[in-house]
């Protein structure tokens, strides 16, 4: 019992420690990671799932944001005040995600929050920010429903999936024809939404889905699905595959190895160097919709310098589109704070709504009071000889309702 007594007292001490750590004390003693912390700073919360299943998406986004932060502070911050990005790890666990959001709002006293690349987390964090009157911009969740689900403090940096799916459908219909094969990951919201919107828009155009198939998140062997596709009497005009960045290289590789040579079309999940690295030559004749041409040789100046800076900082190319989105999100929020001239949440949100023609690495951002999902051009990329090349810059004719 002695031991248990001491354990209980240990628990008590821990409880005290927790409250000590999290009382509205300066973050330097134990709060999140403080990228820079001079006396007077503007605090922005960065909530990301740095560990757990979503870490391969959130880590690049956080890295992008940190890169932007360094540039901002190097350029003098906001009105002479340095900006501080307090990063906390949601661990891909809903309860922890909500905990860190509360901590950022309540203990760290951030004026605005960015982060997360998935709707689960964004929807767990969003309402808390909404309630506290703090603007929250998600760096990667692409569900166009988010703002309507959360409220007027919720913003997206990427376009909604309905927009890119519509572009994909229109582009492929015109270029390849009306018969499509559709495969998607049924265990992930992003891929499900993308496939749904694609199907809606494509059938609306008069296209036909000749075969529809699914796989489970975590599946790495697509041979059964491929054999099924190959057993189609006549091959479709193109293959629309909705996959997350971690899967797409594998999927394309295995499709090509099985002798399927037709065009493969998809969304911004394809925007990762893994596509070419994993699939190699097999990646040719792949088309996908994304935010901007992220290519160190052929991209815009902004893109080139972003890639350069990212390489210098982290030793490798941006892992996927989320790196650029994280970068843009950070830049956008700071820009909005500067324009608002205040750290009041409502004022910042209003400044975001007034954003027009903001030059992000991943495309130009336009918002309005009714559009918290940015109006953005969609870039269509074609992979040629292992390189991403610009196939088209498009705005969809018609966007499926969110």
């Amino acid at each position: 019992m002695k031991r248990i007594g001491s354990l209980l007292s240990l628990a008590l001490v821990i409880a005290l420690l927790v409250s000590g750590c999290t009382a509205p004390a300066p973050s330097s003693t134990g709060g999140g990671e403080a990228a820079s912390a001079p006396a007077e700073t503007i605090k922005i919360g960065g909530a990301f799932n740095l560990t757990g299943e979503l870490s391969s998406l959130d880590v690049p986004a956080a890295n992008g944001a940190k890169l932007a932060l360094a540039e901002i502070n190097a350029a003098g911050g906001v009105d002479g005040k340095q900006v501080e990005l307090i990063i906390r790890d949601g661990k891909t666990d809903p309860a922890t995600v909500a905990n860190i959001t509360t901590q950022l709002i309540d203990s760290d006293k951030v004026v605005a929050m960015i982060g997360f690349t998935d709707s689960d987390s964004a929807l767990a964090a969003g309402p808390l920010c909404q309630e506290a009157g703090i603007p929250f911009i998600t760096a990667g969740a692409t569900s166009p429903k988010l703002p309507s689900q959360v409220g007027d403090m919720m913003f997206l940096t990427p376009f909604g999936d309905n927009v890119q799916a519509a572009v994909g459908a229109e582009f492929a219909y015109d270029r390849f024809g009306p018969k499509a094969y559709l495969l998607w990951d049924k265990g992930t919201e992003y891929t499900t939404l993308l496939a749904d919107y694609f199907k809606t828009r494509f059938t609306e155009l008069g296209g036909e889905i000749v075969l529809e198939d699914t796989y489970q998140s975590g599946d790495k062997d697509f041979s059964a699905q491929i054999a099924k596709a190959k057993s189609l009497g006549e091959q479709p005009d193109f293959y629309y595959i909705s996959a997350v960045p971690d899967d797409i290289g594998t999927t394309v590789k295995q499709f090509r190895e099985a002798g399927i040579t037709g065009p493969i079309v998809g969304g911004d999940g394809y925007d990762t160097p893994l596509l070419v690295e994993v699939a190699g030559d097999a990646a040719n004749n792949v088309f996908f919709t994304t935010h901007a041409l992220m290519d160190a040789d052929n991209g815009s100046e902004a893109v080139k310098s972003f890639i350069e800076a990212y390489r210098t900082e982290y030793g490798h190319d941006p892992e996927n589109a989320f790196a650029a989105l994280g970068y843009d999100t950070m830049k956008l929020i700071v820009d909005a704070i500067q324009r608002a001239g205040s750290t009041d949440g409502a004022a910042i949100a209003k400044a975001i709504e007034e954003t027009q023609g903001f030059p992000g690495v991943a495309g130009e951002l336009n918002y309005s009071a009714s559009e918290h999902v940015p109006r953005k051009g969609v870039t269509m990329i074609e992979v040629k000889d292992g390189k991403f090349t610009l196939a088209a810059e498009m705005v969809p004719e018609k966007v499926p309702a969110p």
Binding site: M1, P24, G30, G31, T102, A124, P127, S143, Q149, G187
Partner: protein
Amino acid sequence: MDDSLSRPVSVAQPTTWQRYAGVATPLLLLLLVTLYIQGASSAYIQRVWIILGLDIILVASLNLFNGFTGVFSLGHVGFMAIGAYVSAILTLPLEKKAINLPDLPAWLAHIQLGFFPAILIGGLAATLVALAIGRPVLRLSGHYVAVATLAFLVIVRVILINATPYTRGSRTFSGTPAYTTVWWVYGWALVTIYVAWRVLRSPYGRAMLAQREDRAAARSVGVRVLRSRMWAFGISAFLTGVAGALWGHYILSFSPNAFYFAETFSIITMLVVGGMGSISGSVIGAILVVLLSEVLRNLEGGFSLGVVQIPPLYGMSQILMAILFIGILIFRREGLLGGREIDLTKLFVVDYWRSVFRRKEV
């Protein structure tokens, strides 16, 4: 302090008022701490307190099955999912239902229940499923039950993902009304602990423990092994379903991903740390793991130790918790309490204090 465990003691049996005092003390303490936290602490501490309460329900109800019957379920998070989804669907405001779940069958699309009935129905739904799968699965022996319940968890997930009209599939289920408060959570936590204690001190519980200790001997004195396991499974599933409902109305947005291995492992850690088969162990395990992992999480963002600056190491808290867990399994195989109970009644027995002080003198 050895004697405050339910080991044989030479002191007199506690009188009625001592027993009441033993029960009332922790309750009073709980009430005071909760009131204090509600009044004077940050929103974050309040949140941790609620999460702790939810975990206490989850661990105590898992203990009711795993600890009392000795067969291990790895599928309880599946019941949590059932509770969360069922109650969330039932309480979703009608206008949100029309938008979020447009394909619901008519009878579901036009009802909106209050929190309490929704919780009960969530729990009952979990119980029904438990009784349906329990009949075949609980016949199995030893860790094959663990295997089969793991399979159950996978199946629940697949069904959640595919039952799109009800669950939105893999898409986030949102719009759940924020009904859960600290009072709901601790109210149910007390109910859970009371039920677990009641079951333990009843013929049902004795049968569960007996078949855990020795299946053959239990059968020889008339214990029906499958039946006693079914009782445990059903009650435990109900409480886990309730916890899921409370969890759903607190976290508000969730998808099938929330109810999978990560959550399973986290609850099991608390159970094993506290000690299987001990109700107070469940509570202590939950407290320790929840608080410790919060502390570690707060430290992994990097901090300075005087001159040394510790860089951020995200993932360190999980690693340390896992190592702690292995350590406990190695050095205290039975968990901290090892199936015993902390009995505060003893604190009110004069002889007990006498014995404590006498020992000090020696």
